[in-house]
């Protein structure tokens, strides 16, 4: 259990990054985040090591441990996870790694190439590209993960309601979602942005409503199967409340598909956020965002290719790692693939 | 009686290369089938019955499996050494196969007629029209009512028994000289089971083909088989004519197998079963593979694998119980 808790702590500390926007003066938050992340990761490693000892003695394993074992066997997924952890550390430690601020303009060094002061050069306004990319990763991962978590929570909630109560609730929720799903997400985003304007909060809101159908459908399906089991009826007969049945008996049985879907959709969500930022509808300047950097870079393609290359490769690396990790989680949880 | 056998398998070895190790699906299996006769291959699941059958048609999925040794002589031709293209001309044409799962063995995206006609077009070089006519005749032959309409239907529109009839129609469409039926009735209702068995028996007599019937059901064996091969852990432990197998069985495994399917009028309190499970194929016992479960195991059973002991021309068993009494002829 320690292992899981420390993992959650670690994830939470990554999540927290989103609330710390790139203001280099707030170094102490960075320090706090670093401490909690290291603590979480350390506990996690210790628990894993301890777990390994136990394994030899006990051959009966829970499904979650089995999944973890399978995931550990998958080398690509482990490397991807390593890259993600490394990137999270990098972003948290950003102010300590480079003395350059992502916002300060160096008018003496406009659009420069690689140098010892500006490791990856500067952009058209003399801002350090490396520093901007680091803070861009922080924002992308922070908002991406937050949006997926919210998306998962909302989707799961709707799916649970629809599946558990059935009847009119089910019809209403699923029909609404069908209409929602019948409009391509980008168009919904454009409509919402046109009505409400842009901003981080709205961005998270929009993206967290993007993939509801997929979650709700899968959860509803699992709930319908779980509901058939006798123990649910038994729980109801002895007067356990609906909420309690859902939380204690139904939800734990749907964890696998939720995990798979969530981990597979992080990559795509980050791409969507980067895309909206590229269009100028996502994260707004001056806050550094990888998508925004690319949009800026395209204008100076002739003069300074680094301005496009650095943020582009960075997004690719993040999304690739999340996708590889997501594939690993799917393979580990989907027993169908393991026969 | 020295008859030229239709199919003769000699020392067949089929091996599976898995992540955890090497599994011998068939370990030196030898058997003979004469034209027109029925050989039943009996054994628990995992005993290598299906692997033997699939090896004959070279249908073992590779990877992980492969035929590593032995010969499969069909009408004098060694199937193991045939090239894929030559093998293809034998499959469905001279040797046909019926599978266990009628629900999943038919292609859901093709009409029943097309599926029957396909092998006719392929092997008999008939035109589409003639092949469909042949398909209709085949449906009639396997007792499907209104064949003209059924021809255009899809598998999901049919019941399990009906689908197995279609499978038989597909298999017999080119009048093969050998039919391999891999548990053709185990997935069906009891009443349908006997219908299908009767149908197969009738068609076998009509067309004069030989049948290899793979089953774990001793009742089915008693009804249909001329000869019986009993398999355990990839090898044949007893082989003989049906009469010998039922009334003069030698191997403790077969004896146990027979006891476990006593008919209801025997009225026993407790159905005798063979204790334990099939051993892990990755860690087979060193000696006789049945030794850990055998009620009459001896010391030698642990150390050495028994060789076949012949009781008459055709009847033999691999067991140390009979090792001293009879001379081996091989």
């Amino acid at each position: 259990m320690v292992r899981l808790k420390s993992f959650y702590l670690f994830m939470l500390s990554i999540l927290l990054q989103v609330w710390w926007f790139p203001m280099a003066s707030l170094d102490w938050i960075s320090y706090g985040l670093f401490t909690s992340m290291t603590l979480g990761l350390g506990l996690f490693t210790i628990a894993m090591a301890r777990n390994k000892k136990r394994q030899t003695a006990n051959t009966m394993k829970g499904s979650r441990e089995l999944m973890w074992l399978r995931l550990k066997k998958n080398k690509t997924a482990m490397v991807a996870m390593g890259v993600l952890i490394f990137l999270s550390y990098l972003t948290v430690l950003a102010p300590f790694i480079t003395p350059q601020s992502p916002l300060d303009t160096d008018w003496g060094a406009l659009s420069q190439g690689i140098s010892s002061t500006h490791w990856l050069g500067t952009d058209d306004m003399g801002r350090d590209i490396f520093a901007r990319a680091l803070f861009g990763i922080r924002v992308a991962m922070g908002i991406g993960v937050t949006a997926v978590v919210l998306n998962t929570l909302i989707g799961t909630f709707l799916g649970l309601l629809a599946g558990y109560y059935g009847g009119k609730t089910d019809t209403l929720i699923m029909r609404l979602l069908e209409v929602w799903n019948a409009i391509p997400f980008i168009l919904l985003a454009i409509a919402i942005m046109a009505a409400l304007g842009t901003g981080i909060g709205k961005l998270i809101l929009i993206v967290s409503l993007s993939n509801l159908m997929a979650f709700a459908r899968i959860i509803r399906g699992s709930v319908l199967t779980v509901k058939e089991h006798d123990y649910i009826a038994a729980a109801r007969v002895i007067g356990i409340s609906d909420t309690s049945i859902i939380l204690r008996h139904v939800l734990p049985n749907c964890i696998s598909p939720i995990l798979v879907l969530a981990s597979l959709s992080i990559g795509e969500t980050i791409l969507v956020i980067a895309g909206l930022s590229f269009l100028g509808l996502g994260i707004q300047p001056p806050m550094p965002s990888l998508g925004g950097m690319l949009a800026n870079g395209q204008q100076f393609l002739h003069e300074n290719f680094l301005m496009s290359l650095v943020p582009g490769v960075t997004i690719l690396l993040i999304v690739l790692s999340f996708n590889l990790f997501g594939d690993g989680v799917r393979d580990a949880l989907d027993s169908r693939l393991n026969d | 009686m020295t008859q030229e056998p239709l199919l003769e398998i000699k020392n067949l070895e089929t091996v599976f290369f898995t992540d955890d190790g090497i599994i011998k699906g068939c370990d030196k299996v030898s058997l003979k089938v004469n034209p027109g006769e029925t050989l039943a291959v009996v054994g628990e699941s995992g005993s290598g019955k299906s692997v033997t059958a699939m090896s004959i048609l070279n249908l073992i999925p590779d990877p992980p499996g492969r035929v590593m040794g032995g010969e499969i002589l069909f009408q004098g031709q060694n199937l193991v050494s045939l090239r894929q293209e030559e093998m293809r001309k034998i499959r469905g044409n001279h040797i046909a196969m019926i599978f266990q799962e009628p629900m999943t063995s038919l292609n859901p995206a093709m009409t029943v007629g097309d599926q029957i006609a396909e092998s006719v077009i392929l092997h008999q070089h008939l035109g589409k029209k003639a092949a469909m006519k042949k398909a209709e005749e085949m449906l009639q032959l396997v007792g499907i009512p209104a064949p003209t309409q059924r021809l255009k239907e899809y598998p999901h529109q049919m019941s399990g028994g009906m689908r197995q009839r279609v499978m038989i129609a597909i298999a017999l469409a080119c009048s093969p000289s050998l039919l391999i039926a891999d548990e053709p009735t185990s997935a069906l209702d009891v009443t349908i089971q006997s219908q299908i068995l009767k149908l197969m028996k009738k068609l076998q007599e009509q067309m004069g083909m030989a049948v290899i019937l793979i089953t774990h059901d001793m009742g089915v064996v008693a009804e249909t088989a001329d000869k019986v091969a009993v398999m355990y852990c990839g090898s044949i432990v007893e082989y003989g004519e049906s009469h010998d197998i039922f009334f003069n069985s030698k191997h403790p495994y077969l004896q146990g197998l027979k006891q476990s399917v006593l008919s209801i009028d025997d009225m026993v309190d407790e159905l005798p079963v063979i204790k334990g499970n099939i051993p892990d194929p990755l860690h087979l016992p060193q000696g006789c593979r049945f030794e850990p479960r055998c009620p009459r195991a001896m010391d030698i059973c642990k150390k050495e694998r028994p060789r076949p002991v012949y009781f008459n021309d055709k009847h033999h068993a691999c067991c140390w119980l009979h090792g001293g009494d009879h001379d081996t002829r091989s």
């Binding site: 019948a182 409009i183 009505a195 | 499959r91 196969m97």
Partner: protein, 312 residues
């Protein structure tokens, strides 16, 4: 099949209705005076009053909705920026978008389905690894980054292709030269995920019992794969096509922006920046309608290839 088609077609009407209601509802969330929103900030008081009257802005919401829709279709709803009827503005930009989207979709399907089949059949071969790695990059790389890379190498460095803009129709040489890069960029993501899905479903299908039956019949391996297996593997691929097309829309907006392609996607994004609310409404609504119709066609195709639906 007829039944299925009719049912689908009948569902189209309420679906389109609810979509328009939903989009209308979202745009109603705009804070501030809707009359000002519709006319732009420089409108005179009289004009505002007239607009309120015309769009029934002082009436209940459902009447506003009806008015808005009738105005949209009668052409009375005008774009603030272009000062022209919204539908006309959108239709003028439709041709480039359809060319881009169509070319990308055809390209994606032509490449991904054979690639997926070969990967599945030759599993763990060099081709499989190569195409799976490419596909993984394809789903991980942002559309606009692919676009910028291509522009950098083929337009800025090698000067082979024009960096941006529309060349004038798919049937002109110049049009094709301009279309190559955007169409490839847009199709890359769809190509990648369709290859992955095709491979996965082929691998699933190849394990099925009926493939063994086909082999036991002596069917040629090529026929086993292309007829017996592919016919069944096509169903999950088709089911997923709807999702792919939704992504294609998002990709199209980005591609049009990167390549300055004069299409509806860019029109919609620019409309946001120009605070051209009527045009946003028109763009989003018309694109959604197109999406729904394309999805309907996909559904109907699914019905054609799936006998369980055809013979319901």
């Amino acid at each position: 099949m007829l039944n299925y088609t009719l049912r689908r077609l009948m569902l189209l009407v309420p679906l389109l209705f609810f979509i328009s209601v939903m989009i209308f509802g979202i745009l109603k969330l705009t804070p501030g005076d809707p009359a000002v929103v519709l006319l732009g900030e420089r409108a005179t008081t009289e004009a505002l009053e007239l607009t309120r009257e015309k769009y029934a802005l002082n009436k209940p919401v459902h009447i506003q909705y009806v008015k808005m829709m009738t105005h949209l279709f009668t052409g009375e709803l005008k774009s603030i920026y272009y000062r022209e009827n919204v539908i006309m503005v959108v239709l003028k930009k439709m041709k480039p978008t359809l060319e881009l989207g169509g070319a990308a979709m055809v390209l994606a399907i032509l490449v991904s389905i054979p690639a997926g089949i070969i990967s599945a059949v030759k599993r763990n071969s060099f081709f499989d690894y190569a195409s799976m790695t490419t596909a993984l990059f394809g789903i991980s790389i942002p559309v606009f980054f692919t676009g910028i890379l291509l522009i950098y190498f083929f337009a800025v460095k090698m000067r082979l292709l024009p960096a941006s803009g529309y060349g004038g129709g798919i049937f002109t040489m110049d049009g094709i030269r301009h279309l190559i890069m955007p169409a490839f960029v847009l199709s890359f993501t769809m190509m990648a995920s369709t290859t992955r899905i095709t491979r996965a479903s082929m691998l699933d299908v190849i394990k099925e019992d009926y493939i063994r039956t086909a082999r036991a019949k002596g069917v040629r391996e090529f026929t086993v794969i292309m007829v017996h297996a592919f016919k069944n593997a096509l169903m999950p691929v088709t089911t997923n096509l709807g999702n792919q097309i939704a992504r294609l829309f998002a990709g199209a907006v980005l591609t049009e922006t990167v390549f300055a392609w004069p299409g509806v996607g860019r029109l919609a994004v620019n409309a946001i920046f120009r605070r051209d609310e009527p045009l946003v409404f028109g763009c989003v609504l018309i694109l959604s309608f197109i999406y729904v119709v394309v999805n309907l066609l996909v559904d109907l195709f699914y019905g054609v290839i799936n006998p369980q639906i055809r013979y319901e």
